[in-house]
């Protein structure tokens, strides 16, 4: 198998023949699993610093690169949110804060958090790290493309950050970038700022497409022997469905950014009707701003689930592991994830009830939207039923999961308000909306991310994060975030509109000055508390307790690698063979309270394990 290139570049090629030696048992044996369909994947092992850590083709390294870049943008987004809260809680305190700056910070905060932080973190970060490990693959199927995907994302982030430094500053048109205002004077950053934003988004979409193809094909076509779709951990299901959504939803974003770029640069009128600006009629005419909104939300609503579904999947795994109990209703969970994903393409215009679209759409979209509430509610029931009669470790990871349940149910319920068309009318464009989506797609997924960090850090770094610091981190974050967003709903009830730089002395607002100050203080504290995690990580990397193999006694494949942390190729010489789902915890009759996926049936004959 060794040829010239191999010797030069150091491919470690494993022939398919060596694989077949280990075909397990013969047909008819209860431990029998079909032999491998495909020969082993050749991997490119880096040698130099550049190929090992920078342009690396190992999905795990790419995952960490994605994670770090996303966290960097997340910190930028966090600082922007502080600045916004400073203005809202204590208007006029910061002298440099003009309305222009405020709107630029709002916009960049929103875009960064939704696209460059959460999407990149869940799919690029956790997806890259966990998919190959959890489905039992050596690596992603196209490692080179995967590497390009990260660097494309990196360039997209660089372009985005560059927009802070161009004349006029970054765009201030709100994260939805609605035309006509996004590209007209009167909106901050309507020159270079919006252009860089659109370019950055297009680059992100291209980069993501490269990554997304990898995630999908790895899950569909490169699972290990015995790993059926219904034996995959829910984490993989969540990330997989989110990737499918992204592959089908990002095109709409790409198209709308191309069209808006042309409107801006070439003066086409896709989204631009006849416009009178400062007494002069502009050179536009005939376009439709609502078309942009349709395109944007055709992307935007699936985007919400691109963030939420991986969180659903990951939290299911965390709850199951730490409650020492199988996830309740696994099949229902899978179908709920898939169903939510499919339905999310038919609900987009519930963001547009008061946008002036065809009013009859309200009936259709309200109905489809509330249908989604059913599978979502089923997932919530299943999470809490998993806790029921479990053996719950109340550790940091579980605390984050419980925090997730509280915030997610809270945010989900307010979603029923906003999805129900006529209830949305008084509440849309008020702080109720802000509170709702921060609770449901800001705080809730963040709780999962934090839980996942505490859960998988021992795998990535080989050391356990400090529990005591973790608990401080959790309680400050949870209580703080809850006290930011729970009262904020009531601002919306009063009727306070969102995206207001200042309320002056409106009667709705004067009563709420105290609340705004309180929310701002809580926001400062919650933001600062995140640095506890960074401190914890740095401290742990130096002096943390070694984790050893499988510290949480989990079943799924990522904990059963030959080394901790796993090396390139993940599983040493032989790929694992899977015999069961990853949720066989506390099986009656079993020696231990967990049963790894690789345990063959012959070893557990005397237990009451169910066939999966």
């Amino acid at each position: 198998m060794s040829d010239e290139i191999e010797n030069k570049t150091g491919y470690q090629a494993q022939s398919s023949e060596t694989m077949n030696e280990y075909s397990g048992a013969a047909v008819g044996d209860i431990d029998y699993v079909r032999p491998a369909e495909l020969p082993e994947q050749d991997l490119y092992h880096g040698h130099t610093f550049l190929t090992k850590w920078v342009f690396c083709q190992d999905a795990k390294v790419i995952g960490v690169q994605y994670f770090l870049t996303a966290v960097f943008t997340g910190v930028v987004g966090l600082i922007l949110s502080w600045l916004m809260r400073l203005q809202l809680g204590f208007p006029g305190l910061a002298g440099f804060m003009t309305a222009e700056h405020y709107y630029q910070f709002v916009t960049m905060h929103g875009m960064i958090m939704v696209v460059y932080f959460l999407t990149a973190l869940f799919l690029g970060g956790f997806g890259n790290y966990l998919i190959p490990l959890m489905v039992g693959a050596r690596d992603m199927v196209f490692p080179y493309v995967n590497m390009l995907s990260f660097w494309m994302f990196f360039v997209a982030v660089a372009v985005l950050m560059a927009s802070f430094f161009v004349p006029g500053g970054p765009t201030g048109s709100g994260w939805t970038l609605y035309p006509p205002q996004a590209i007209l004077e009167g909106t901050p950053g309507s020159g270079a700022g919006i252009l860089l934003m659109l370019i950055s988004l297009s680059l992100f979409v291209i980069g993501f497409t490269m990554g997304g193809l990898n995630y999908m094909i790895t899950i569909l076509q490169a699972r290990t022997r015995g790993m059926t779709l219904m034996r995959m951990p829910l984490t993989v299901w969540g990330i997989f469905t989110a990737t499918v959504l992204a592959m089908l939803a990002f095109p709409a974003l790409l198209v709308s950014s191309i069209m808006m770029t042309l409107d801006k640069v070439l003066g086409t009128s896709f989204f631009m009707p006849t416009i009178l600006k400062a007494g002069e009629v502009l050179e536009y005419g005939g376009g439709s701003p609502i078309l942009f909104q349709h395109l944007f939300w055709f992307f935007g609503h699936p985007e919400v689930y691109i963030v939420a579904l991986p969180a659903f999947g990951i939290v299911s795994d965390l709850i199951s592991v730490h409650a020492r109990k199988n996830i309740f209703g696994y099949r229902m969970m899978v179908w709920a994830i898939v169903g939510i994903g499919a339905l999310s393409f038919f609900v987009w215009a519930h963001h547009m009830y008061v946008s002036g679209m065809n009013p009859w759409f309200g009936f259709f979209f309200a109905t489809t939207t509330l249908i989604i509430a059913v599978p979502t509610a089923m997932k919530v029931y299943n999470w809490i039923l998993t806790l029921w009669r479990g053996n719950i470790r109340i550790n940091v990871v579980m605390l984050w999961c419980l925090g997730f349940i509280v915030t997610f149910v809270n945010g989900g319920i307010t979603g029923i308000f906003l999805g129900n068309v006529s209830v949305d009318v008084p509440l849309s464009d008020t702080y109720f909306v802000v509170a709702h989506f921060h609770m449901v797609m800001g705080i809730a997924p963040l709780m999962v991310i934090m839980g996942a960090v505490y859960h998988w850090f021992p795998l990535v770094a080989g050391r356990m994060l400090n529990e005591g610091l973790g608990k401080w981190h959790f309680w400050i974050t949870f209580l703080g975030a809850y006290s930011i967003y729970f009262p904020m709903h009531y601002l919306g009830f009063i009727g306070v509109p969102r995206r207001y730089f200042e309320m002056y002395d409106s009667p709705y607002m004067t009563s709420a000055i105290g609340m705004n100050e309180f929310i701002s203080l809580a926001a400062f504290i919650v933001g600062a508390a995140q640095f506890i995690l960074i401190y914890n990580i740095i401290k742990t990397l130096k002096t943390g307790k070694p984790a050893g193999k499988n510290p949480w006694k989990a079943n799924s494949l990522e904990w059963h690698t030959s080394t901790v942390p796993p090396e390139h190729g993940n599983f040493g010489e032989r790929l694992p063979v899977v015999h069961r789902w990853p949720y066989d915890y506390s099986v009656p009759g079993a020696k231990e309270d967990f049963m790894p996926q690789t345990t063959p049936p012959s070893e557990v004959l005397n237990t009451e394990v169910e066939k999966t």
Binding site: R225, A249, L291
Partner: protein
């Protein structure tokens, strides 16, 4: 499209087979090469891109109160002193379908390991694509001469020019990228990269195989497919 034989796996037909394949381990698309599966999913994503373009076009055209120019007149061409409606477009369609046919045959001969035939057919496809791009360039320059611009249009609604240049431009970009890759792959076929177990690729550690010609073919047929829709919605509507 590879030989469907997998040890200890029974292929069932139809929807039963779908359920069986989906419920099985290792792969969902049995016998489908990774690269081919990737190309299919990519094309699905690209379908959404073109659909969004065409939907925007339909929405834009349906909601303009200004009259939309009659494509049959705008795209007419003088032949022997007589204006023939859509002549150039008809020729472009002809060229593109021809190239699609040669591509399909190239895939067939590739699988039969007929290196020469496959190579020549890929090359013919590339030349067809090149002619198409050339004709499109001619069409663009003709319209620009007549005063059509992305932002204005002497024949009616200004969106006509915007959508025309954007959509055909985006399609033309796809064709051009395809032509570049066709030339590269024609070279690879002639150079024998897919013979004797295959040469390792430039971008990847995977070994070359004639399945790559099918993957390229999928892309090329997709470009043709999009043209079918553009032809119907842009030129005939």
């Amino acid at each position: 499209m590879s030989e469907q034989k997998i040890v200890d796996y029974e292929f069932k037909p139809g929807f039963k087979g779908m359920a069986h394949d989906t419920g099985s381990d290792q792969t969902m698309f049995k016998g489908v090469h990774w690269g081919k599966a990737m190309m299919w999913i990519f094309l699905l994503s690209d379908t959404f891109v073109f659909s969004c373009f065409l939907i925007s076009y339909m929405k834009g055209r349906a909601s303009t109160p200004i009259e939309w120019p009659n494509p049959s007149e705008v795209f007419a061409l003088e032949a022997f002193g007589v204006p023939v409606p859509l002549l150039l477009i008809a020729l472009m369609t002809f060229v593109l379908i021809t190239s699609s046919g040669t591509m399909a045959l190239a895939v067939k001969y590739g699988y039969e390991k007929n290196r020469k035939m496959c190579g020549w057919l890929v090359l013919a496809t590339a030349v067809g694509g090149l002619i198409f791009v050339g004709m499109q360039a001619y069409e663009w320059s003709k319209l620009i001469h007549e005063g059509v611009r992305p932002w204005e249009n002497p024949f009616g609604a200004p969106q006509f020019g915007s959508f025309f240049f954007m959509i055909t431009g985006f399609h033309g970009t796809h064709v051009s990228i395809g032509v570049i890759f066709l030339f590269i792959y024609a070279y690879k076929v002639f150079a024998g990269h897919y013979e004797n177990g295959g040469k390792r690729g430039w971008f990847t550690t995977m070994r070359g195989d004639y399945v790559e010609i099918e993957i390229l073919g999928l892309y090329w047929h997709f470009v043709d497919l999009v043209w079918v829709f553009i032809f119907a919605f842009f030129y005939l509507w």
